[in-house]
Amino acid sequence: MLFKDYEPLKKKQFQILDAEGHLVKPELEPKLSKETLLKMYKTMALGRVADIKALQYQRQGRMLTYPPNRGQEAAQVGAMAALEPLDWLSPAFRELNAMLYRGVKLEQIYLYWFGNEWGNHFDEDVRVLPVNVIIGSQVNHAAGLAYASKVLKKNEVAVATIGDGGTSHGEFYEGLNFASSYNAPLVVVIQNNQWAISTPRSKATKAETLAQKSYAFGIPGIQVDGNDILAMYVATKEAVDYARAGNGPVLIEAVTYRLGAHTTSDDPTIYRKDEEVQAWEKKDPMIRFKKYLIDKGYWTEAEDKALEEENNSYVGETFKKVEATGLETLEDIFKYTYKEMTPQLTEQYEYMKKYLEEEGK
């Protein structure tokens, strides 16, 4: 059993596909269809392009603060691939790829970072909560989703993602403890990208691994090579099945790396060494996954190149659309405070509307 073999205090990191793309644990290779594998890869590729271009737009003054995801694609997509459509994702804010995989449109993601709340208004069947800026809250929210699922017998699993820095937060602890005490179907995936802005992982906690915090809740934990998409898939699948069966939550630590800055307003060269970054570049999840797919005969370099071009133009068009149509209306900033506007809000809105009209705006 995976959780027994990789119990955190055994200090073994779960890996199936190594950095060079070799199957080190072929017996654990998941039986995924070509279709699914390509969906996973294409999502990551799109995410990477969207990520790079977002940074470019920001430097051009066309996009606001944006948190790059580069390097963490496998940790996100590998986990999401293990979910059923009716399962939930309760993200932090660095889950571009995870959200794309689960059906959030790139346009919406861009719209949000562009500065428009409509970017958080996902379709009915998209079971993803909006980007969460308050560190740790997403775990409590997911605990609530999980509890409801259990009590209403809906068979859903709620997955919350959180960073290494986030595991220091009270809400991480309270949320997992809460869900554990009811055996609610919650899975928490820590995207341990080694850095919380400028704070290295070692300063976030004295614990040697983040996975071992699972002991505090009385639940299974496992540390996974986060850049190994196959291992992420397998570990998450096992965790989700475990939770769905009513056994309670699981804590997964995905060891990965934040190749970019914390956000577009951050300069990581101040606090970390280039050698470190270069070392992790070699472990880029895209490299090994591409090799794996090509080895399997599912993919070619030519297709890869074509995909990149396709993504470039798609992302470009998408952003242009957002730029052209993404402005807010006066009414919208008032209208959604409550289901129905209170008399005060109506009065304030009417006042502002009149004021702007008189100003000729």
Binding site: W88, S90, E117, W118, N120, H121, F122, L129, P130, N132, I134, S137, V139, N140, H141, A142, A143, G144, L145, A146, Y147, A148, S149, K150, V151, L152, K154, E156, A158, G170, E171, E174, G175, N177, F178, A179, S181, Y182, D332, K335, Y336, T337, Y338, K339, T342, P343, Q344
Partner: protein
Amino acid sequence: MAVLTLLDAINQALDQKMADDSRVVVYGEDTGFEGGVFRVTAGLQKKYGVDRVFDTPIAESAITGSAIGMAINGLIPVAEIQFDGFVFPGYTEIVTHMARYRNRTRGRHGLQIVVRFPVGGGIRALEHHSESIETLLGHIPGLKVVIPSTPYDAKGLMISAIEDPDPVIFMEPKRIYRSGKQEVPEEMYRIPIGKAKVVKEGTDVTVVAWGAFVREVEKAIKLLENDNINVELIDLRTINPIDEETILNSVKKTGRFVVVQEAVKTYGPGAELISIVNEKAFLHLEAAPARVTGFDITVPLAKGEHYHFIQPERIAAEIKKVAKF
């Protein structure tokens, strides 16, 4: 018709709504098995089971934070915080998420949640058990905040709160939990949120109070019987959104305005109400509006509390000042 205490009226409201709507769940610290330290939720777990009425670990952020997930995924959570002073560990979730979720998602996820807790002092309690935090919650866009002063209102407001599509903070004035009973109709009924009530009509001065202090003002009014001052007393009932219409109609009639609040004076609800009166009834005023408030101090422990808890005599004196100006 049953004659109930305020506490029992809340219990009945919860009971009836739980029977009426299977999505309603009630939970908090000691809320399930014991029925809450004040017994507000007594008997509910037996009736509706452990899944719907349950005890939580001591984790206020989980209590309020999980309510959000529950509300999104098909439940109507009625989350209890054990005492006013302990709202703060759960305050983050209330302010940064619960209040804003509808706005953040442009209506995709409105949250139908009730957060309830006992408030107010005058009970010689430990620290953090006598707070009045209307401002800290009423100031937050996206929240509704209510506080009943009678058993009848408590039931009606609780039912409305549970049914309201927005998050409602339900404050229970603990001092009057069991102080007195009132006829409470057997069937479910609603008191609209956002509607104050004229408890006593009058012509000379408008006095607004809420929660435990409605009774204190009533005592003050009795003390003024010989002074020929005819007070119009309004029970605010909803802290946010404020029922401006009822207040203004009254002030336009009387020309004089007093707010009585247990809460700290500076930046308290009285300031807001007086601002409204100044903005919209200035020309009707015959005297400056006044507020009778707690002091800008931490609520004293038992031995000092009597200095702080506003006595009817002080209320009467302040009303008289305004009436005689």
